[in-house]
């Protein structure tokens, strides 16, 4: 069947037109169907209901939309990269993936670096979310003198006399018996 508009090409679509107040159905070729759609779009006043989108109808987005999309994508990329950096211990360079796979952390600093992941993945079976109980004497202050004396010895051994003098002043400030 030939197109009812151009009478040349074969009909491939059906369009509805209004002629003399009466709805008519026309069998048309692809080119005439597209032309008819464009005419309808141009004649329709803006905001009166958007035409149904079809393949090939998409227009280029405005420049500000493009910029907005690019800025958002850039921001997301930055977030992902910073998250990946946070997944590496700065002290021993162990990654969270390595730690998770082996079930073994690299150094005490890993606990700080991966705190969020450890909380989410490993602490569900514990009695509580936070440590309760004894604390190391260096934290409570009980063994701070012993710690400082050891540090002093180490500083003297490596001939770091500036640090050794500072440590000696701290030990003297603590007072008490020697070796406690």
């Amino acid at each position: 069947m030939k197109c009812e508009i151009c009478h040349e090409a074969d009909a491939a679509a059906v369009i509805h037109v209004k002629k003399d107040g009466e709805d008519r159905e026309l069998y048309v070729c692809k080119a005439c169907a597209a032309r008819s759609r464009h005419k309808k779009k141009d004649s329709k006043p803006k905001g009166e209901g958007a035409p149904a989108l079809e393949f090939g109808d998409v227009e280029e987005p405005p420049e500000f939309v493009k910029n907005l999309v690019e800025a958002t994508l850039g921001f997301m990329k930055g977030v992902v990269e910073s998250e990946q950096n946070a997944r590496t211990c700065p002290a021993c360079k162990t990654t969270w993936e390595q730690a998770k796979e082996s079930g073994h952390l690299g150094c005490p600093n890993c606990w700080k670096a991966f705190a969020k992941n450890i909380r989410a993945n490993f602490l569900s079976g514990q009695y509580g979310p936070k440590h309760v109980g004894s604390m190391p004497p260096t934290v409570t202050g009980e063994a701070s003198r012993a710690y400082l004396e050891r540090e002093l010895k180490a500083a003297v051994a490596r001939e770091d006399f500036k640090r050794a003098a500072a440590l000696k002043r701290l030990i003297d400030a603590l007072g008490g018996k020697e070796g406690q």
Binding site: H104, L105, C107, F114, G128, K130, H131, V132, P136, E142
Partner: protein
């Protein structure tokens, strides 16, 4: 549930709990974590009533250690170890239990589920820890974060006491309500021990379990409970041979099993069940 304790229940309780230890893992602040680089303090005790005393000794030992090391510490996670699920106090308390009575009356699984619900690990004692050889189980607290040491010790202690009571109750029930099951398990084990021609160490370990139960309850003549325990311990220490790759390997394994069976046949020839 109140346990019906027999006249020798205290004696039995000693044999139900075969030993244990408590460990505190303390890592050095300035070092990288290494599996062998842990400062571990271990104290042993013989009876469950000694646990609080053992912890007091453990605390003193830790104080001495603290004078030499700065422990890896985090205000939220407590004492740090290389293992992300192991932090907090780092205190593990464990003991080994012989639960043959619960096994024979069929209550082992509910008891196991109850213990595991209390965040404790229930582990069969075997070369790989998967099989429940001899119905001896090692039980310890799995969680170490969120509970102070003294409270944890009290809690573990209470669990251990409850478990001993359950096992003693099961043993009492076994001889009062289901004596046939009790007799059958002992006689069956004795028959194999007297006449088997091949016995692997772990099979022997399994067979000695009901004999140990009967010996502890005073129903075996010719062998003492402590002798059965030392026989079991000797089997557990033997290294497992690799799976046989050749006929020569299989022959070596058979020779070992035949020698063990021969020795056991002779030892159990004069052992009598006196129920």
């Amino acid at each position: 549930m109140s346990a019906r304790r027999g006249p020798n229940s205290q004696f039995q309780a000693v044999h139900v709990v075969t030993g244990g230890s408590m460990c505190l893992y303390r890592n050095d602040q300035d070092r990288r974590f290494d599996a062998d680089d842990q400062h571990v303090i271990t104290e042993l005790w013989e009876l469950p009533s000694d646990i609080p005393d053992a912890y007091t000794r453990l605390e003193a030992a830790e104080r001495r250690l603290a004078a030499e090391h700065v422990f890896a510490w985090h205000p939220e996670f407590g004492y740090l170890s290389p293992f992300p699920d192991h932090c907090g106090t780092g205190l593990h308390v464990w003991a080994e239990f012989h639960l043959e009575g619960l096994n024979l009356i069929g209550d082992l699984q509910p008891v196991r589920a109850g213990i595991e619900a209390m965040r404790m690990t229930f582990h069969g004692v075997d070369a790989d820890g998967i099989h429940n050889a001899g119905h001896i189980f090692r039980i310890w607290n799995n969680a170490t974060l969120g509970m102070p040491e003294r409270k944890l010790v009290r809690r573990v202690m209470r669990t251990f006491e409850d478990l001993v009571t359950q096992e003693l109750y099961a043993r009492q029930m076994l001889i009062e309500d289901t004596p046939r099951i009790f007799e059958d398990s002992i006689m069956r084990a004795l028959a194999i021990l007297r006449s088997a021609r091949l016995l692997s160490p772990w099979e022997l370990f399994d067979l000695l379990s009901p004999i140990r139960l009967a010996a502890n309850m005073g129903y075996i003549a010719g062998i003492t409970g402590s002798e059965v325990i030392s026989l079991m311990a000797a089997q557990a220490k033997k290294p497992d041979l690799p799976p046989p790759q050749s006929i020569a390997d299989e022959r070596r394994r058979d020779n070992r099993d035949a020698a063990l069976a021969d020795r056991i046949n002779k030892r159990f020839a004069r052992v009598e069940f006196t129920f």
